[in-house]
Subunit: 368 residues, 2 copies
């Protein structure tokens, strides 16, 4: 059967390997597996959120509140915007999907950094749009600016901080670039890891209400999957001018967020203390990775997130390192498919990281 | 900002009003509200499923198993197909979305019954496709056949049994019609309420592996939202030949089902006893609605689902009846927007239905 031709060119996203799969495929005992491949919060879900879900689990038979009244009010309050400025997606992923599908078609162009979140391209290809990438791996605004003028793309993607590399542009530089961009171009400012960047360095912090009031063509994305520790519950959001949100809403299916996910997100917003504690721990533990890298002679990208990207230079092959770690029950992300010889490791808990260093040390010794 | 022109013509789905909204807007006490507007299972979630979710709630921070290995194995086993014949969506809704977006564009035509599930049209319009409807409200295969030959649509939708009317075609008649359909036409057989129809009348039962092996151009849809009592968890599925599934997969975002939803669906499949008990109760209670309707001189559509559609003829105006019930805390679905003067009521529990009859009786008296 024939389907739309544009699909021929669509590649599937490669998800971090789940623990169940490593148990099945490598016969490693489940309790010995450490998954540091998907930038989940290693401190687990907030106990307050877990309690809430246990209390209301029996309500699963009821459709969710499709207006998402309570969650949108809570987000509006947090970001100092109106509910009408917000759209909630099944992960911020889904808001990216809405934005691209609402704005683009096969005549469109999308501008993004050379190495950035894979879904921008995948959703773009679904519409048949052309992908334009800067030359440098990390975000380079001069290159963005030059390519913007050359191609006049319909959408621009800034991942702040950037997944999977971890770097983050300064907000003032981003503002300067945004001044140059035509108001018909939809700019996605992807803040999936913003909580980490804002904590580490004030210069990286994005003030969302300021951003969207200065730039009516920008949509800001946030997620509950990282700092808020709800990766499994699929809740993210987009914040923009009402006119943008209304158009994205036309592609939102009813009930796109589950009853329990809505409740979990609402509860998670009430426990900011937990979030701050997790982020604080994250950067303490990250120092250990930086020291490990220096010790082994790897370079690393200064990270404003909950992961670190180790460049293996010409010393090791990243796919081999990742595969060997996998056999030892440690799941990390090999970045070969992104075109770099590097591994991305989520910063785990203190105990997890100690085990990672030990295993990685042995793997490197064996591969030498 | 300009978005894709096709969106101008897209209408939003009108969800059944949630209880929270009735509390907010009408000041009715939450415990006095009966929601019979979204065909949820009035017997609640299976206690075994609730227990499972409570046990694993703390795992919410982990991304779901994107391969959905366990759920797909369980479904493959239930339907006697392979995992590769299955795609899981955030409700069967999302599988409809995948199918329409994979197959259609602005040159496409979609054939469906005059009154049927609203999302077929909404997703169709998102691609700019043209909607063709039969003349009769209920499914009429002669009309389908005639319009099929006339328009050669890219997709055909058969809702078996039909939402929001409740009628159901005989499977042998469906097979006869499918014989006439070109193998390049994708036919959606929507079995969201099949468990009810198959229980009530063997002639309505669809044997899925037989269906897709006889007709390689058919995709069968099922859901956990109705008989399996997981409306809030958003899990549905499509079953078809591998080639169709592979194309739909290109539009599936990673992690489209939450960690808890996957677990709930897997557990729900283990408790078929609960499902059968709910369906049995459903049809016992439906008899009371049929008697009520006869008593009041309304006609009703013989229903193979967990709801009943009462036609108010020229006696009452459905929007008024629904609005008056709402003020009394009883939420039903007014079908005015579908072009019929009727209300659709989900068959509630015995106690709920008794209250509905009492309130409805009073409303009708007041409106006379």
């Amino acid at each position: 059967m024939q389907f739309n031709k544009v699909l021929d060119d669509v590649k599937l996203y490669e998800a971090g390997k789940p623990i169940e799969l490593v148990v099945r495929e490598y016969g490693v005992d489940e309790k010995d597996i450490i998954k540091l491949a998907s930038n989940e919060n290693p401190y687990g879900t907030s106990p307050k959120v877990t309690k809430k879900i246990q209390d209301i689990a029996k309500n699963m038979f009821m459709y969710p509140d499709d207006s998402m009244f309570e969650l949108k009010e809570a987000l509006a309050n947090k970001f100092n915007v109106q509910s009408s400025n917000i759209i909630v997606g099944s992960g911020s992923d889904q808001v990216i999907e809405f934005a691209i599908h609402a704005k683009c078609n096969k005549n469109s162009k999308l501008l993004m950094s050379n190495i950035t979140f894979a879904m921008y391209e995948i959703y773009g290809k679904q519409t048949g749009a052309t992908i334009i990438r800067t030359k440098d791996d990390e975000h380079n605004l001069e290159q963005f600016s030059k390519l913007y003028k050359e191609h006049k793309p319909d959408m621009v993607f800034l991942c702040l901080p950037n997944n999977p590399l971890g770097e983050c542009l300064d907000t003032k530089d981003v503002y300067e670039f945004l001044e140059e961009v035509d108001k018909e171009t939809l700019v996605v400012v992807d803040g999936a890891y913003q909580e980490y960047a804002a904590f580490k360095d004030e210069k990286k912090k994005i003030v969302v209400d300021e951003l969207i009031s200065k730039f009516p063509n920008v949509i800001y994305l946030g997620t509950f999957s990282k700092a808020y520790a709800l990766g499994g519950m699929r809740v993210g959001y987009g914040i923009a001018k009402k006119q943008i949100i209304q158009n994205l809403y036309k592609l939102r299916a009813p009930f796109n967020i589950t009853t329990l996910s809505l409740a979990a997100a609402i509860e998670a917003l009430k426990d900011e203390e937990f979030v701050i504690k997790c982020i604080d721990e994250n950067f303490k533990e990250m120092k250990r990775y930086e020291e490990f890298a220096l010790d082994k002679g790897f370079s690393f990208i200064k990270s404003y997130t909950n992961f670190i990207t180790l460049k293996l230079e010409d010393k090791f092959i990243s796919s081999e390192v990742a595969q060997n770690l996998l056999q030892r029950g440690i799941i990390v992300r090999d970045l070969t498919s992104y075109g770099v010889n590097a591994i991305r490791i989520t910063i785990g808990s203190n105990e997890q990281n100690t085990r990672v260093f030990k295993q990685l040390e042995e793997v490197l010794k064996n591969l030498k």
